[in-house]
Symmetry: C2
Subunit: 356 residues, 2 copies
């Protein structure tokens, strides 16, 4: 890598990549240019650090690249937005093998394509550890953003995607208990598979015919100058999806964010959360599948609260209910112990425990 | 920092910050929401690594925060866009003192305000070294992007901002020759001051009255559906600014990018580049001011090529000419040696030489 130099390496990474049409100007200039037909764009950023968020002896570079994009794309979709582009800043030691760089880039492009977008640009620098910083963009297609603050008393809590499988894979890797029997859990940890389509297909019929800053006339012919609606507070959409997030810190922690932001209580039904395949793995690992499901992060399932009168779309499973009050309970009882991932202090579920 | 925990620390960093109106939804949800009235947005990302791009014994946390934002804002402005928002991913060791975090955040907010924007969101993770990854956004206000590919034979090459001062400051720090006499150069290295206004004021009269995907009629009444123009290739704007970049890798290297992209040659006039104040510093440091000016990066001056018939706006100084051919020369001669900064291989002007 040292021999190739920064510019040649960037050329190598970008060689043969096809930008999606929303990327109007890709890598090679001072900045990229991305379409924002909605007149607004959703943006989120996540940093992944070697031996803290991933390990090269546990995951292939391709897997790590996919995971880095997936967790950012999940945040975009969790706002109700369609992924439009990514940018990536990558820090690497000078002696990083070229196949690691190539693998990271290939994985990123693979997952970006799965999310329907491409990588519009980036930065490449030298660092002691591999550091991957992804920023992801999305377009709301004229809809209101779906925040964590929109849950209403009486809503059904439902999930799309798997819970606890990434935590199971992590437990297997930590115990050095890899085997073919555990292939599914290991894959789930290495490459989360956020079910983007479960959200986006449900929303795709709900675009509001609105252009940014458009002038509209009311019934009396008076015109008003409209700004794009700024948050999801006002418009739950046709499908009754009032609040939405992705499960990145753990189900209890992420629903805790919804409960706090929405000023409601959430109760989960443990029976609805049971996963017999996960129970079998937990039994062999002498672990508790319920703990994985409730506190394991990184699966990037989507969890939302839905108005009671609306049918749940394909891919969504009811797991609880929103009521008046505060906090998150399971079968009516508070759950002791860990409530998920924090980067500093508190319970630490880092891949490598307490690194260095 | 460890005691406080991730979420409390993020609250602390964001406490009391005022978002600019273009940030429709700030920190606290899965993603932020930023206005893009143009229907497109410019995006760039840069990663800064401790002891490679900055040193805590050479710069204050405030200075480092300002520099991180400034170099990204400069890339946005170098496309002809108005900064609209930033997001920041920050990696820190668990034992990082709180005043370092606070200083970094304060510096970032200070420079974001200077660029006319705010910090819409971010991420905070643990890492071995401090790593700052900034992504910056800008709005083109209906204008075409000004790329590196638009230079035309006969254009005047002109610069806005200082050249070589950051390199002088680096040389002083490297030689451990700090003194009050060198305060200006030291400040220039610690906090680059890209002259955003020199570009943006010049452009502010040139907005094209165009809405994204608008339908327009030609003289015969035929309508066509227009996409936003995607690059700067088609529209130099009223002011005759055909190509633009910021000086981040060194003047020769950055003009080399323009020459290559535009398929032209560029010749610089060494007399126009002379800076007597820098000459005085160079004499005392037994160094070559011309080398600093031609190859020193990080000043984030703006350099552009202007149609010959147009007067240069305030703040711009002519330094050379575009002609047919290729490559960059000074007084008609090729310049031997270093052509600027590369992250891997080649000449390495890292703040700390070859780190670890």
């Amino acid at each position: 890598m040292r021999e190739l130099g920064e510019f040649a390496l960037i050329d190598r990474i970008n060689s043969g990549r096809l930008q999606t049409p929303g990327v109007l100007l890709g890598p090679g200039d001072d900045a990229a240019l991305v379409a924002a037909p909605d007149g607004r764009f959703v943006v989120t950023t996540d940093m992944l650090v070697q031996d803290r968020h991933f390990r090269l002896d546990w995951s292939s570079p391709q897997d790590i690249g996919r995971k880095a994009i997936a967790q950012n794309a999940a945040d975009v979709v969790a706002m109700g937005a369609v992924p439009s582009a990514f940018v990536v800043a990558l820090g690497c030691p000078a002696d990083t093998p070229l196949n690691v760089i190539d693998g990271l880039a290939d994985g990123m492009w693979t997952e970006a394509a799965r999310a329907g977008a491409s990588i519009a640009g980036g930065d490449l620098v030298r660092s002691r550890d591999i550091v991957i910083s992804v920023t992801a963009f999305g377009d709301l297609r004229g809809r209101a953003a779906i925040t964590r603050a929109g849950a209403r008393v009486g809503d059904t809590v439902a999930v799309a995607g798997r819970l606890g499988w990434s935590a199971a894979g992590l437990a297997i890797l930590t115990a050095d208990a890899e085997s073919d029997d555990f292939a599914e859990a290991l894959a789930a940890h290495r490459v989360p598979q956020p079910p983007y389509a479960a959200v986006l297909n449900a929303l795709s019929g709900t675009a509001v015919a609105e252009t940014p800053d458009s002038t509209v006339a009311d019934a009396d012919g008076n015109t008003t100058h409209q700004r794009p609606s700024s948050t999801g507070a006002s418009d739950p959409g046709d499908i009754g999806l009032n609040a939405l997030t992705d499960v990145s810190d753990g189900l209890l922690a992420d629903l805790g964010h919804i409960a706090t932001s929405s000023e409601v209580a959430i109760d989960l039904d443990s029976a609805a959360l049971r996963d017999k395949a996960l129970d079998r793995i937990a039994a062999r690992m002498d672990a508790d599948a319920t703990q994985w499901i409730l506190t394991g992060g990184e699966d990037h399932a989507f969890v939302g609260t839905w108005s009671a009168g609306y049918p749940l779309p394909a891919g969504w499973v009811p797991i609880g209910r929103v009521s008046a009050g505060h906090g998150v309970t399971v079968d009516g009882a508070a759950r002791p112990g860990s409530a998920g991932w924090e980067s500093f202090g508190g319970v630490d579920s880092a891949v490598a425990g307490e690194p260095r």
